[in-house]
Every structure is written in C-alpha cells, then in structure tokens.
Symmetry: C2
Subunit: 284 residues, 2 copies
C-alpha cells in the first residue's frame, strides 16, 4: 500500500478487521466473502482499479483447504461487480504453483505449461481463466514466487532460519538442494504497485528472476548472523515431492512493467535477520 501511495495513488484498503494502515490509506473493514458487502463497497468507492490479493493462506493448510473454493467465488464476484460498476482495471494475485515447473528453465508467463496440482493453485488458476475471458476489464494476473521479509510466518523458510539464528538455537534444514526464486516482500509490494499502475495485461511473474538453493540461503543467513555453526543442513528429511527448480522469467516485469527489485538477496536477508533479532529475546 505504501508503494501505491508513494506512486501517487489514492488508496482504499479492505480487510476483515479494522486496521491502521498508513495515514494516506482509507481503511474499510468488511468481508470480501460477502457478495452484497463487496458490491456496495465498489459502488461507494468507485475505484479506477482493483488490486485483489486476498485468499486463504493459512500456513501448512492452505494447499488443500476447501476455503480456496470460497476465495475463487469471491474473486469472480468482485470481478463481476468491477465490470458492472465501471471499474477500468482489475489485478489479481496468482502463484508460481500454477506452472508445471521446467527442471532446466525459468517459468515464462507465455510459454510454460499451466498445470496446477493443488486445490489452492487450481482455484487461483481457474479464477484467472474466467476473469481473463471477461470482456471490458483491463486485466493483469500477478504470479508471486517465493517471498520473505518482515511479518513472515515463523514456520516459513527464511523466517524459521533467521529466528533460530537470532535465538542462538540450532537452525534445522533439509539438504537444501532445491533452487527457488526469492524476493523481498517489500520489492514484491513495489512490483505489484507498478503493475497495478501500468497497462500491462495478462499474467506477469513477480519475482527476482534469479534462482538460489535453499542451502545457499541458509549459508547466507549463517554468515549474516555470524552463527553459521548453528546451521544443521540435512537434519530434516528431504521432501521427495519437491521440484528441483522454481525460478521465474522476469522479462515482462522488467521490460513491460518497467520494474526491477532494489534490494539484493544479501540485503533483504540481512534486514529479515535484523527484524527477527529485534523481536527475539536471545537465550544467553
């Protein structure tokens, strides 16, 4: 939201519970799963553009949670309200899990096969298909890859490693050979804002475009913290169903949207580590 405000947009934000965003943002508390409320809000606020990023993403559960059906429905309801009420542009948020990841190439928005396998990714992809087929909306679909940064769920990779190191505890991980595309969540916010305010249509990967192994991420955090000796690579079993490589092609983001991340992985991880240090009382 800050990224949008910084770019001169007037921003209204909808969340389930009332939330103190930055002062320039008009906050609305309401349920996006309630079709009548949604329509009324669009009617009252008459936005030029809607950025729809809401979904059920409860850590460890969201892949198969039936709530994805509700969120697909809510996405369609919101798009229909947008169309009826003259909203010009609609940007939805998808996921790298919509792709069939190639082992030896980056995921490209236009060439890589779409082949979601979880209810979560199927429902995201199906929402995209329907809204994209609708005449009368400028429509883009932001496919997020791996994000990390402040306020991350403590059981996600970067957060769990940074937190363990900050607490001076052993940081357990797998062998960590899988290659992933990590982006600082603040850069992801900037990229989304740039996409929202552009006229680029269709799917756009929001990612760094650079792959790095999980092990390498861990070693960076070890070095940053000065506590590499706490890393325990191989302490957790490798997951046999993990694809070896999930990395984005970012040509569209770079040349069409005109966005490049400003934070290096090194800098982003250092910030994440500091963030966890500030929230952790280190056992001595």
């Amino acid at each position: 939201m800050k990224s949008l405000v910084d770019r001169g947009a007037q921003v209204h934000a909808l969340s389930l519970r009332s939330h103190a965003w930055i002062p320039q943002v008009v906050a609305h508390a309401g349920n996006l799963l309630d079709p009548r409320y949604v329509r009324q809000l669009v009617e009252e606020t008459r936005p030029d553009t809607i950025l729809h990023a809401a979904w059920n993403v409860e850590h460890g559960k969201f892949w198969t949670a039936p709530e994805s059906i509700d969120w697909a429905g809510a996405t369609l309801t919101l798009a229909r309200a947008a169309l009826d009420l003259g909203v010009r542009r609609f940007v939805g948020v998808g996921t790298c899990f919509e792709y069939r990841w190639p082992d030896d190439a980056n995921c490209d928005e236009l060439c890589t096969a779409i082949d979601p396998t979880t209810l979560y990714a199927v429902a995201k992809d199906a929402s995209r298909r329907v809204v994209e087929a609708l005449d009368g909306l400028s429509f883009a679909w932001a496919r997020l890859f791996y994000l990390y940064g402040p306020f991350e769920h403590e059981r996600r990779l970067v957060a769990s490693l940074a937190r363990s190191l900050a607490r001076n505890e052993p940081a357990l991980l797998t062998q960590g050979l899988a290659i992933r595309d990590f982006l600082d969540v603040r850069d992801a916010g900037d990229a989304l804002a740039a996409l929202v305010l552009s006229n680029v249509c269709g799917p756009v990967n929001i990612a760094s475009g650079t792959g790095e192994s999980i092990a390498s991420i861990a070693y960076r955090l070890g070095r940053i913290s000065g506590r590499s000796h706490l890393l325990r690579p191989g302490a957790l079993p490798d997951r046999t169903d993990e694809p070896p490589r999930i990395v984005a092609e970012v040509k569209r983001l770079k040349s069409e949207v005109g966005f490049e991340p400003t934070r290096s992985l090194e800098r982003g991880l250092a910030d994440a580590y500091s963030w966890w240090c500030a929230r952790t009382s280190t056992p001595q």
Copy 2:
C-alpha cells in the same frame, strides 16, 4: 427428471420459479445464485447426489454474457455446500465447447486438448477444474454436445427447420457442410440419469458419437415432412468461424456408464417435427 425417477431415485428439483414436475418429484422454488438459500436447501434435503445443470443459456447471448461468472460462482458455492454437508456425489454439466475440436477425430475426454474460447465455456471449464480438485466428493462432469427435441428454442437449428416446414414456409439454412453430433434431449436426460447413478468420475461426453452434416439433418427433416421443396440450402451465409467438425467420442458413456441412446436420429427428428406440427397452425 423422469429418467431419474424411472431408475428408482428420489428426486428433489430446484428451479427459479415454482414448477409442476412429474408427481414423484419434490419441487423447490428458489435462486441458485443465492448462497444462503442454496446451503439451507442442501441442509434440509441432505441429498446423496447433486446434479447441477443450471446456467445462463439465453439463445444468441450466452456465449459472452457476464452471467457466466455468476453461474461459475454458484457452481463453486454449491460444491462447497455439498462437501461441507456430506453429499457423496456431485455431477456438473459442461459443454463440447470446452474442447479444441480436432478436424479429423472425435473429442475424447482424456486425450483431446481443452481450449475454451468463449466466457461461457471458460467459466464452465474453470468450474470443473476447481470442483474436480476438491477432495471428498465423487465428481463427474457431463459434457453435452448438440441437443434437439421438444421445447427447443425456436431459433435453434432443428427447431427452426422443423417449425418452418411444419408452417409450410421456406426453411433457410447455410450450405450446411459442418459436421455435428446431435442427440435427442430425451436420450440426453437418460444419459445424465445413468451418469448420476453411476460411480464414474471425471469428464464424460453425453452425445451420440456419430457426426452428421447440418445439410443432412435438413434433408432428413425435408423427407420426414414431405416438404423437401421448402429447403433452401445456401440461403444463409456460411459462418467463417464455424469449426468443420464437432463429434464426441462416447466410449466412456457406453462402456463405463453403460448407456446407449435408444432413439435413432431419424426417429428423434420425426418426433421433433411432430411436436412442432402439433404447436403450429399451418398456413394453407
């Protein structure tokens, strides 16, 4: 519905306005687009199986009508209610327009590419994708091809030809070279009932499996009516965007569901012609 009752099923039917179905059917009047009503109805009736055939199919308009978004949403809402309330089986109704029709082969549920191009077909296909990805429901998806029979909209092919012939008026058509798969709507009802009461999962074509040109259908109706002289092939311009062939592979319907149509095309068209005769005051 008669087909289901004949097969021993207890049937509850939901339609927008109150409707006198056959006596064995319990009629409910309500709006499937109202999520609360839908949930309440499933809760009250506790069906073992739901057959969901409702959609916006207003002749000439439904391909691009935004109502398809609402119906996709309603399909998801109904499936979610089914899952939550212990419904065992869910059968939805799709369309041959989900396929990328091969020019020289039949559309096969498992091999033919899915490539819907209209909002209608995209929304149908997207609904199928989501419900199919949901764990906990026995799920089948009936893909209808070309239907004809009693109560057909008078501007659809068989109805418009039969009606013109019954009224002793010229029956205009294109050159009619396109090959289509036509099934009597009564056989389609029987096939749906058989699918509903089976345990077959996934997409199943509901069709005859036999292609016939539009011109040939017209000539049959001409012969049946004894008024072939009224046929005007070529009087309407050919549509350049019409695919040459849309014919179903029906192996799944025949061998897995165990269904074969009982009405030949000749018999079905004769019945359709009689139906229009009974409703037409012929100018002399």
